[in-house]
Symmetry: C2
Subunit: 189 residues, 2 copies
């Protein structure tokens, strides 16, 4: 386990604040107060507010890209690939709930890394859609609109950051399983 630098602490604390009010509404003074220091002192560890946002978002986006790569290259059925995607979201979100809030809500405030982030996101969605389309071809998945299916699943998975902190009693495996059930097999008896 790599040791936590002061910069890491700043990023972690910032993610907490960004989750509550969003990147734009959190000031460097807010962040400094939360760290118990003065705003000017932050700049001994980071170069700009923007760098903090990048530190939060990009690493998570890359974790999704890596996870998706493992899934598309696996030999699983399409349905099982979707279950692995659910697990991927549950695991990443459970490990960094606050960071997921920034990824979802503050990505548009990225400056230098905006194009890179959008590239990763677009590729992720394209892979997700391809899995569903293959599942339809193989008659594993209903022949309804694949985009509606992806939209519905992805909306739920992207909202996990709001929900996981409220249900600390639920472990990641149980949550991934019940979510897969609901998302894939529906809710009617």
């Amino acid at each position: 386990m790599k040791q936590k630098t002061r910069k890491d602490e700043i990023i972690t604390t910032a993610a907490e604040l960004f989750k509550e009010k969003g990147y734009s509404a959190v000031t460097m003074r807010d962040l400094a107060t939360a760290m118990g220091i003065k705003a000017a002192s932050l700049y001994n560890h980071i170069n700009s507010k923007q760098e903090i946002l990048k530190g939060i978002i990009i690493s998570i986006a890359e974790a999704f890209t890596n996870g998706m790569e493992g899934i598309i290259n696996s030999e699983a059925t399409s349905i099982n690939k979707l279950k692995h995607i659910v697990e991927l979201h549950v695991n990443i979100t459970a490990n960094n709930t606050n960071g997921m809030a920034s990824l979802n809500n503050d990505w548009m405030h990225l400056e230098d890394q905006l194009d890179y982030y959008l590239k990763l996101r677009n590729e992720y969605e394209a892979n997700f859609l391809a899995i569903i389309e293959q599942g339809v071809l193989d008659s594993e998945i209903k022949n309804s609109n694949p985009e509606v299916i992806m939209f519905s699943m992805l909306s739920t998975l992207r909202s996990l950051y709001l929900w996981i902190p409220k249900k600390e009693d639920l472990n990641a495996n149980d949550l991934a399983n019940s979510l897969s059930e609901v998302l894939i097999y529906g809710i009617n008896d």
Copy 2:
């Protein structure tokens, strides 16, 4: 049809901008430029930036409350009540995509109306959950975790504002129907 006042125009334009960057990152100068006037002129029609946010969010929140009231007081089965909830979200969102973005992402920047908004939202979710729980009792809905079901449905429905503008070819009825299919009956063949 009530005629559009200048204040309404400001609110509509603001919602557009808030959708792209969020309430905090949009300045009164941005808004004025988008309206083709100077920032100071805005204050002839509105009293504060905050009032604009309130004008966007509260009316939509009340529309959801009213819609839900009609649904819980109807004689429909639980599954059909859920389908009506899907229609409610599709209709409100289709009529005010930009406003839905603010409702979802900027509600925490409400000041005087924050408590009122939270009250409406909590009551809405309680009613939603009660419908699902009744459906489980009546064996219409699978006996899995009702909160997971609500979370999943609500996440998808709350994300509609991102998706509807990209699919202008799809009409509201068709979308509500395919969404209901996916959310209620699942995706596996």
